[in-house]
Structure formats: C-alpha cells, structure tokens
C-alpha cells in the first residue's frame, strides 16, 4: 500500500514538472492571438526609454504592451545569424521611413530581441550596424522558448489597442519581403491610415 502511494507521488511529480516545462516552451505567436508574457529589462539608454515612451524614471522590467505605440514590430534576431546581419540595414531603413513620416512617427515602433545573445553581443550588433532602435538581450533563451524557439530573423507585428489589450497581427519567419512592402503590410494589418 505504502509502495503504491510512493509510486503515485512519483507519477504526479513527474507529470507536474513536465507540464510546467511545457508551459515555458511556447509556440510561435499566432496571428489573432496575444503575446506570451515577455518581460524586457528597462533600457538604460534615455533615448531608448523616450522612444518606447516608458518614462525616464522607469526601472526594472516592462512588457511589450506597455510601449507607447499603436503597433510594435519585434525582430527576433541573433548577432550570430547571417541573415539577421544581412537584414540589419533594411530594418534600419524601415525605422527611418517610419520616423520620417509624420503620420507614422510615434505610432509604429521597432524593437529587437537578441536570442541567445548577451548584452555585450547585442551591443556589438547594435554598434556594427548602427541600429537606431532599442535591442534587448535574451542570453538564456528564456524569451526564445516563449516564442516557440523560432529560427532567426523572425518578425512579429503587434497591434496595441487603446483599452490596453493587444493582438498579434503578423508573425513570420525570414527576412522582410522589402521595406516598403513590409511597412505597407503593417499599416494594412493594423488599420493605420
């Protein structure tokens, strides 16, 4: 009887731990769904804080829906990924196009998450390609697991609603299909004029 009880405990513990691990390992964000609970460290750089509208006194961590914007474009990248390196000037161009357009500036914001990259490695990538938007490190692959361990680069578009809710409007592996086309797709999917 005692043995049976021990056995039952073993099974329950293993099942619980397995379920917990599975809950950490997500699948790629689905269009129409919501983002996993991604927590990013508050940027130290004041310009990054301002860009994201997080307030200069913010500290600790923040979630993507807290960013002050109508649409957030997230690039999952790695400093070690050849396609991300090749795509870097194009993503910079996308940023410039948004910032130079008075109707889009402040409404569409871009962030990059360097999966498996330390802060130093993300900083190296930022410096190498003069990336003007905020980049975040995910050295221990925590976020990478949450987004289904996608290959890189991977782009996610998120629409932030005035009521605080959000929706994934774009979720795709690979390079952008051209900067103008990508921007037009984001505007169309988010309903921005």
């Amino acid at each position: 009887m005692k043995k049976m009880r021990v056995l039952a405990c073993i099974v329950v513990i293993i099942v619980c731990m397995f379920a917990y691990s599975l809950s950490l390992a997500g699948s790629p964000p689905a269009v129409g769904g919501v983002l996993p609970d991604i927590k990013l460290s508050m940027p130290k750089d004041l310009a990054d804080k301002n860009y994201l509208g997080l307030g200069i006194f913010g500290f600790g961590s923040f979630t993507i829906p807290e960013i002050k914007a109508n649409v957030v474009i997230i690039e999952i990248f790695s400093m070690y990924c050849p396609y991300c390196q090749r795509e870097a000037p194009n993503v910079n161009q996308l940023y410039e196009k948004i910032e130079q357009n008075a109707a889009l500036r402040g409404k569409i914001k871009i962030i990059g998450i360097g999966v498996g990259n330390t802060s130093y490695e993300v900083g190296t990538f930022k410096k190498k390609y003069t990336v003007p938007f905020p980049l975040f490190a995910d050295a221990d692959y925590v976020i990478h697991k949450m987004v289904g361990e996608v290959r890189t680069p991977y782009f996610i578009g998120v629409k932030l609603n005035p009521d605080g809710s959000h929706q994934v409007i774009y979720s795709k592996l690979g390079e952008m299909e051209g900067v103008d086309q990508f921007l037009a797709t984001m505007m169309r999917l988010s309903g921005l004029p």
């Binding site: 990924c81 396609y83 990538f125 692959y141």
Partner: protein, 203 residues
C-alpha cells in the same frame, strides 16, 4: 516518514535532471540561413577529450589546407600576429553553424588586438565549402583537419571519441605561446566578451 521523504527527494532530483536534459537540447537559436539543413545532434557530453597543451607553453605547429585552397601554417604568424584558433565540432550542426558568423562581423576587434582567426573543423573541404557558403563571405581562413583525421585536434587534445572535435578556443601570442584555452561545453556557444577580454590581455 523519513524513508518517504528520501524517495520524494530522489524523484524530484531525477525529474529535474530528466527535464533539464530534455529542454536543454533546444538551447540554441538557429539562423534561417541554413533552412532545414541542420542536423540536430541532441545534447552531447559537454567535453570528451584530454588536453595535451597548456597555457604558457608553445603551441604545436600545424599546416592545414583551407577552403579557399591555400595551405595555412601556424608558424607563418610567428612574430607578426596573435592567433585565435576556433575549433568547432562539425559542419551542419546547430551551435557550430551560429558561431563563426558572429566572429565574421567583428574583424575590427581582431584587428584591434593584432590577431587573426583560424577556424578549424575535422570535416573535409567540400563539406566545409558548402557549409561556410551559407555564412556569407568569411574574412578568416577555414581549415580542414580531415586527414589524417583530426590530426591537429588530436595534437592539441581536443579530439573527441566520436571523431569530432571539441568546441575550443586557443589564443596564441606572437611568440607562439598559448595564452588562453577554453574547451567549452560542446552544447553551448562561448560568449564573445570572454574571448575579447583575453585578447585585451595581449596588449
């Protein structure tokens, strides 16, 4: 009750180990550059060889053929350049495929410390040719230690029992003396800052 607690503890440890292994196998981010052509090796024994060289001792010389055709010897850099040797276990495997492309964008850092990089694997030239082509144009030579199989890896003591090499970094100064050795956990990529810190020390 005591016995019961012992069982519980054992199960907890076993369960943790099992799950750590299960999910650690996916602790890498792969570039889309390789599409679906990367073979998943699963989780491997972190290291599987015995070093034959030491920090502070001369680095054994070698001559290997590079993917671009020329032969490269370690001694050709003596008195001229510091040398970083990066052994990676095998072409077309997950972590290896996302290591050298990172070094490829930091040539300026190597230049700053008057260092060259030599990439070595035990694969043959045609395999290395196809694989490194996916990485873009590499600024450093990629050398094949295929025949006699893993000869240089063996000389340095980084040849694993399955014929692949360790994921290892060696920093050799201009006098040909080994200044740093990192036989890394094969399942993980060494962090760039650790290597750069060692190069800084050469100044």
């Amino acid at each position: 009750m005591k016995r019961y607690a012992k069982y519980m503890l054992m199960v907890l440890l076993m369960g943790t180990l099992f799950l750590t292994n299960l999910f650690a196998s996916t602790a890498y981010a792969l570039s889309d550059a390789y599409k679906n052509n990367i073979y998943n090796t699963g989780i491997l024994r972190p290291t599987d060889s015995v070093l034959k060289v030491k920090v502070g001792k001369p680095a054994p010389d070698f001559t290997l053929k590079s993917v671009s055709g020329e032969a490269v010897s370690l001694k050709q850099f003596r008195g001229k350049k510091n040398v970083v040797i990066s052994f990676v276990p095998a072409a077309w495997t997950p972590v290896c495929s996302d290591q050298w492309p990172g070094y490829n964008i930091v040539k300026d850092m190597f230049d700053q410390y008057d260092a060259v990089l030599l990439g070595i694997t035990v694969d043959n030239i045609p395999t290395l040719f196809s694989w490194t082509k996916q990485m873009g144009d590499l600024w450093f030579p990629v050398l094949s230690d295929f025949w006699p199989h893993g000869g240089v890896a063996k000389k340095y003591g980084v040849l694993r029992s399955d014929g692949t090499s360790e994921r290892a970094l060696f920093v050799i100064d201009k006098k040909g003396i080994i200044r740093y050795i990192d036989v890394h956990d094969i399942n993980k990529r060494p962090q760039l800052e650790d290597l750069i810190k060692e190069l800084e020390k050469l100044k």
